[in-house]
């Protein structure tokens, strides 16, 4: 019996989807905030971090594919008002981020040159980059605000509880009740 049990394979430890989403979202947020601060990081890091941010956003969209498809199907017909607002904000945010990254690549002076691509950047793309960067802040705020409940729940579960668990007071049952 014991040999049977010990020979049984242990299931591989996998990260839950929520946990994966949570850490990915944190990485995207931190990358975004740092990348926004051009003066702190300089142009080279700004451009390469922006490209990495684009890749992270692609992964973020892939992780939420089922939600995108489900909401997309019901967007026109029936959908609660809050979900509809969330979807519209997310569409706007997606378009804004596409324009932010595309214009960034277009006006790139270091990263694209290092790859060997040179473009003739027009003033419109520069303006678009600064404008979409400004809009991205507000849309990111709105995106976070509309998903705030999920964020606080995930933070409580994956950050707060593991951190406070060692200090949690254990309830010691009296001996009588155990007998």
């Amino acid at each position: 019996m014991t040999t049977k049990l010990s020979s049984r394979r242990r299931p591989a430890r996998r990260l839950s989807e929520t946990l994966k989403n949570f850490w990915l979202d944190i990485a995207i947020f931190v990358a975004f905030v740092i990348d926004w601060n051009l003066r702190l990081i300089g142009l080279t890091i700004h451009e390469w971090l922006g490209i990495a941010l684009g890749a992270l956003l692609l992964y973020h969209l892939l992780m939420h594919w089922n939600w995108i498809v489900a909401v997309g199907r019901r967007l026109i017909s029936r959908l609660p008002a809050l979900e509809r607002i969330k979807a519209l904000v997310d569409i706007l945010f997606f378009v804004n981020m596409v324009l932010l990254i595309a214009s960034g690549l277009w006006i790139s002076e270091v990263a694209m040159r290092q790859i060997g691509i040179t473009a003739e950047p027009g003033v419109l793309w520069r303006r678009l980059h600064t404008l979409s960067a400004d809009w991205a802040l507000w849309l990111l705020g709105l995106h976070l605000a509309l998903n705030w409940r999920w964020i606080t729940n995930a933070a409580r579960r994956y950050l707060w509880q593991p951190l406070t668990r060692p200090f949690a007071t254990r309830t010691i049952q009296p001996k009588e009740s155990l007998q």
Binding site: W36, A102, W148
Partner: protein, 167 residues
């Protein structure tokens, strides 16, 4: 395979967004809008450096327009600019580098970073920039949370105000 298809769809949608924007940027309306508000340098597809060179011009004792014209397109030609303005090349380079570093944080050709030409490190400016970045996010979260809690409170109040159905 499924992931690849999804990735392709996302990239195609992104490409469509960029394509539409590019199409709009080529329209006469966009050219008119941006052509009208741009400086002489911007119209040629580069930012107008006159404002960024104001400090350097003041240091060198020349006008910003003259300095910008003498330097030409980026990366700036210091030797030619110094010859045109009748100044020392090293003096021109030092003043321009300092001025551009203050305006952009780094030289447009990226060379400033290696030489420490931009304001690197954490200081009051970067702290202010972080505050500027986080402020809209915090305002949005606070505003929406407040709005939602007020809506919830009003909903509960309305439900309480409704008379109980008679048995």
């Amino acid at each position: 395979m499924k992931t690849l298809i999804r990735l392709t769809i996302i990239l195609l949608v992104a490409l469509a967004v960029v394509g539409i924007t590019y199409g709009a940027s080529q329209s006469s309306w966009a050219t008119q809008q941006f052509g009208a508000t741009s400086g002489a340098g911007e119209a040629r597809g580069r930012p107008d450096m006159t404002a960024s060179l104001a400090d350097a011009a003041a240091t060198l004792g020349v006008s910003a327009e003259a300095l910008s014209a003498a330097l030409g397109d980026m990366p700036p030609d210091y030797a030619s600019a110094a010859a045109t303005l009748g100044l020392d090349e090293a003096e021109v380079q030092a003043a321009v580098d300092a001025s551009l570093a203050t305006s952009f944080g780094a030289r447009p050709d990226g060379g400033g970073e290696e030489r420490g030409g931009h304001e690197s490190g954490f200081n009051a400016n970067t702290l202010a920039a972080f505050v500027r970045i986080l402020l809209p996010v915090v305002l949005m979260v606070a505003g929406v949370t407040l709005l939602r809690s007020v809506a919830g409170w009003l909903g509960r109040r309305r439900a309480q105000a409704q008379p109980m159905p008679a048995r």
